[in-house]
């Protein structure tokens, strides 16, 4: 017999499967500068594209003269709308059922809009030539305020839609109206609000922000004229969907298009959309027959590719006098910019905003969203969030706090009273969602205990008294937030984008010597898929994660999938990985039974091998089985050990968490210090605790940026006033506090391994916790609500309005 078998623990450890704090395999390359991002690509004959962009928010384009640019040595071509029209590529479909100008023709509708693409030998010549393209504009008044976009006298912005009374999502009531989306019980909500003992109403604005990944968007398009194949390398969060869209709009058969997402330097939703740069580079490559590279600079990124949020939400919340919430209503204007290029599932023009009843058992609710056009960049993507969940969560978390003030109840107490109870799961919300699992009270209590919430409130009371006695100029604020996300889009029955069902996929091939490759329909942008998907598989098929290669992002080799955004990789592709793994194991079991000359049912799985029940020394390891799969399978069985799974999730997953933020505000400067931030996340089964923690740190830091400083500020002419990192706030290591993390584990009952996804939770819960803390600091002085971002100036203005400043 073989040498003594290692213990179960030792073998499990060796697998580095579920729950292991496995070091990331990606990092060996990344730490050496050996990543392969789109701007690192270099091909023989490659030329560079650069855009002429509109300096105006709204203007007529009277003429475009490309003569001088074309004369500049090194310039290869200048594309304008006139070149795209015969190809029917002057407009492209958006993910939201609208169209978007690829290059502006008669009109520009936002500052930074693409007007012409210059292609030249190098990027410097291209930049020179951009300056030589003469465009004559006639400025028009800009429509910047979304709340005025549907005024009777507001001129329609889109010439192509003038007079059209219906759009992709139903009737339109104004030329600047995109859709009305309504969900819930209007009459029931009205009645309940009227009957409520207490009612609070507030306008909650979630300002326009930008995901701003450190790497901007870009691509290299290469048309091989000999074989008619188009290859596009680019910063695509959904490469397969991009291929299908590219085929549909270009007419090139889908099998002749290859989309490759190389390493991506962060996405956060910014890289979900299809941008004019991709189309124009492709056209230029077809025209010139050489590879064409286009990479945005930072200003272009902030001005023209996908923004997020810009929701103007009027909320009403009703409750009994003892604090039971009885109804919730939200009427909202959503600013979508000049083209509707939101990246939401087709049936949800406001994404999953209807998760806005949050973590609370609210009997009746009603939401009406009106989307409008303005002279701003298109977008409306899920910035580290699952389709408007961040907006929904911010809305309910502010409303609950505002209600608590009105009732004079502690914010933690009102939450405890209204949280959905453990025994209510699966819970059916008033707006139609089925929450899969949760244990909210345990999570909240754990956090409150960890931060000594009672002690904090006592300290705050003492400090407020000291402030009143003028002994200190600082106010202390405590923010509590409890969020429920809805992620993992999603079941094909209700989730598709452009008709493509939102399943995902995994294909596994086990090699004869017992190592494997897994390919998925998703694409990592820093989440560590190469590490974590191998861990899922290691636990399923007993092959060490170190011996499993994970590959994504090449549409020629990977199975079709809808990509990575909305925290869907783990809930959907992670599930596909586990399911494909189970198919491998089922076949392996039959092979093992044949080798051991027993019936399949006589075998039991033991970490990395099958054993004969009751005779444990009779066994076959996965390594032995893998080899046998290629030379000794049972009669009638196909050789090889491969499996593929396309996973259509039965439901979304519902991660949740409880956060507490403590701030100290200097009323004379508005400087707000985050003294403490405690984040408890429940993302179901935990695949790699180290990576989860990293995701939470990162998401909270993005939440900090949003809550404390980010706002895309447009002036009345439609100029974006902060289109560089000089003015657009990204937190540095100095502003970023130390994050304390914690967890509970409530597995998803319908996910094969119980995982729920975590990447976006901290952004969803973090923004509300910080904003609630700032608002809480002034609550005793009469403040009900102040809008984000809570930068120093705005916080100081709040203090000034409350007559607290000395100046």
């Amino acid at each position: 017999m073989s040498a003594e078998i290692e213990s179960t623990e030792a073998r499990t450890q060796k697998l580095e499967g579920l729950g292991a704090k496995r070091k990331r395999v990606e990092d060996v390359r990344f730490t050496q500068g050996k990543g392969n991002y789109v701007d690192d690509l270099k091909f023989p004959g490659m030329v560079f594209g650069d855009f002429v962009r509109s300096p105006y928010g709204h203007a007529r384009v009277k003429s475009i003269n490309t003569e001088a640019a074309l004369k500049l040595p090194g310039v290869k071509a200048v594309l304008t709308a006139a070149d795209l029209k015969p190809l029917k590529l002057d407009f492209m479909p958006t993910l939201a059922g609208d169209v978007q100008a690829v290059l502006a023709d008669d009109k520009v509708l936002f500052q930074g809009q693409e007007v012409a693409l210059v292609v030249a030998e190098d990027r410097y010549i291209a930049a020179d030539a951009v300056d030589l393209v003469e465009v004559e504009y006639e400025g028009l008044p800009a429509q910047v305020d979304p709340n005025r976009a549907m005024d009777a006298d507001a001129p329609g912005l889109r010439d192509d839609l003038r007079g059209k009374t219906s759009g992709a999502h139903g009737p339109r009531k104004h030329d600047n109206h995109i859709f009305t989306w309504e969900v819930g019980d209007a009459e029931g909500t009205e009645r309940a609000l009227k009957q409520a003992d207490v009612m609070a109403k507030e306008l909650i604005v979630y300002q326009r922000v930008h995901p701003c990944p450190l790497e901007t968007c870009g691509c290299v398009a290469s048309m091989d004229k000999v074989n008619g194949h188009l290859t596009v390398w680019g910063t695509f969060q959904a490469p397969h969907a991009v291929r299908t869209v590219a085929s549909l709009i270009s007419g090139i058969p889908e099998h002749k298009i290859r989309i490759i997402s190389p390493d991506i330097g962060g996405g956060f939703g910014n890289k979900v959309g299809v941008y004019p740069g991709y189309i124009c580079s492709t056209v230029a490559s077809i025209v010139l027959g050489v590879p064409v590279k286009w990479v945005e600079d930072r200003m272009e990124n902030l001005q023209s590719t996908a923004f997020a949020r810009d929701y103007h939400m009027t909320g009403e919340i009703g409750a009994t006098k003892d604090g039971r919430i009885t109804a919730l209503r939200c009427n909202m204007i959503a600013d979508h910019g000049a083209f509707d290029a939101c990246a939401d599932p087709t049936k949800y023009p406001a994404g999953f905003f209807s998760i806005c009843t949050g973590s609370y058992d609210i009997p009746v609710a009603h939401v009406v969203v009106d989307g409008v056009y303005t002279n701003k960049a298109p977008g409306g993507v899920a910035y580290r969030c699952s389709f408007r969940v961040t907006e929904a969560s911010y809305f309910i978390e502010r409303m609950v706090d505002i209600l608590a003030r009105k009732l004079n109840v502690d914010p933690a107490e009102i939450r405890r009273k209204n949280l959905i109870r453990k025994e209510q799961f699966p819970y059916h919300s008033a707006l139609g969602w089925e929450y899969d699992s949760g244990d909210y009270h345990t999570a909240l209590d754990k956090v409150l205990k960890a931060v000594d919430y009672t002690g904090l409130r006592e300290e705050q009371k003492r400090k407020r008294e000291a402030f009143a006695r003028a002994e200190t100029r600082k106010l202390m604020g405590i923010g509590v937030s409890f969020f429920t996300e809805i992620v993992g889009a999603g079941p094909i029955k209700n989730c598709d984008i452009l008709g493509l069902g939102m399943f995902d996929s995994c294909e596994i091939r086990v090699h004869p010597t017992g190592s494997a490759i897994a390919r998925l329909g998703t694409i990592s942008q820093g989440q560590g898929h190469a590490t974590t998907f191998a861990q899922i598989l290691a636990s399923e098929i007993g092959i060490p994660a170190a011996n499993i290669t994970v590959e994504e992002g090449d549409t020629d080799t990977a199975p079709y999938g809808l990509g990575t955004y909305g925290s869907r990789s783990t809930p959907v592709a992670g599930a596909a990985t586990a399911m494909a793994g189970r198919k491998i194991r089922a076949k392996a079991q039959m092979i093992a039974a044949y080798l051991l000359e027993v019936h399949d049912d006589d075998l039991e799985w033991d970490v990395d091998r099958f054993r004969v029940k009751g005779v444990p020394e009779r066994q076959k390891t996965m390594t032995e089985i893998a080899f046998a799969a290629y030379n000794k399978v049972p009669p009638g069985m196909e050789p090889g050990l491969e499996a593929v799974s396309y996973y259509d999730p039965p439901n979304m997953t519902y991660p949740f968490g409880a956060y507490v933020c403590v701030v100290d505000i200097d009323v004379d400067t508005g400087v707000t210090d985050i003294r403490r931030f405690y984040a408890l996340d429940d993302c179901g089964t935990r695949i790699n605790p180290t990576i989860i923690e990293g995701q939470v740190h990162g998401g909270l830091t993005e939440a900090l940026g949003i809550a404390m400083g980010q706002e895309m500020a447009y002036d009345e002419l439609g100029n974006l006033k902060n289109a560089s990192l000089l003015d657009y706030f990204l937190p540095t290591a100095v502003e970023t506090p130390v994050w304390e993390t914690d967890y509970t584990t409530t597995p998803s009952p319908h996910h094969p391994i119980g995982a729920k996804g975590v990447g976006e939770s901290p952004n969803v819960g973090g923004v509300s916790a910080i904003s609630n803390a700032v608002n809480d600091a002034f609550a005793h002085l009469g403040l009900t609500h102040t809008q984000m971002p809570h930068d120093h100036w705005r916080v100081w203005k709040t203090a000034e309005r409350l007559n607290l400043t000395t100046v």
């Binding site: 730490t31 390493d263 990293g694 560089s724």
Partner: protein, 164 residues
């Protein structure tokens, strides 16, 4: 545009080439020398993704003409790995402590951290945070980067003590 001759020492190797007077150092490194470790994340020298070590100082190579760097000694992220191919202690600690996610800021961040530790071998947490405040990261929230730099500082000073 007429080109000028430039000569640099990059990662202990003498290199030379022709460049326009306006060519930025980052473009020369990435496109002429093929050193694509340093990245471009902004155009205003705020993000630090392009950080290289130049004559003993951290420099944002998007804010300097290659002409200005003529004759300089430059280390990019590609120059950090040890002679035997193993990772530099900073690279190893970034990996160990999950100090990176998408990897785009990492080359600049490690290059900056190296110079920080040369200038201050025993930095406090606040000194580390201030020391890397010219380098933006959108993924990690800096917490594990700080941890990695502290761990590297400890390792490097132990190694130095052992050598003495």
């Amino acid at each position: 545009m007429p080109k000028m001759h430039v000569k640099l020492n990059v990662n202990n190797r003498e290199v030379e080439g022709l460049a326009e007077p306006r060519t930025l150092l980052i473009h020369f490194l990435r496109e002429q020398l093929g050193l694509t470790g340093p990245h471009i994340g902004c155009d205003t020298s705020h993000c630090g993704a392009c950080t290289v070590d130049l004559n003993g100082k951290s420099v944002k190579s998007c804010t300097m003409f290659v002409a200005q760097a003529n004759g300089a000694e430059i280390t990019t992220i590609e120059g950090f790995v040890n002679a035997d191919g193993s990772l530099h202690v900073l690279q190893e600690m970034f990996r160990e402590h999950h100090g990176l996610q998408c990897g785009f800021c990492t080359p600049g961040m490690i290059t900056r951290a190296y110079r920080l530790l040369q200038e201050n071998p025993h930095p406090s947490e606040a000194e580390i945070r201030m020391g890397i405040s010219g380098n933006l990261c959108r993924c990690t929230g800096y917490q594990n980067i700080v941890k990695a730099i502290r761990a590297a500082a400890d390792r490097m000073s132990h190694a130095k003590e052992a050598a003495e």
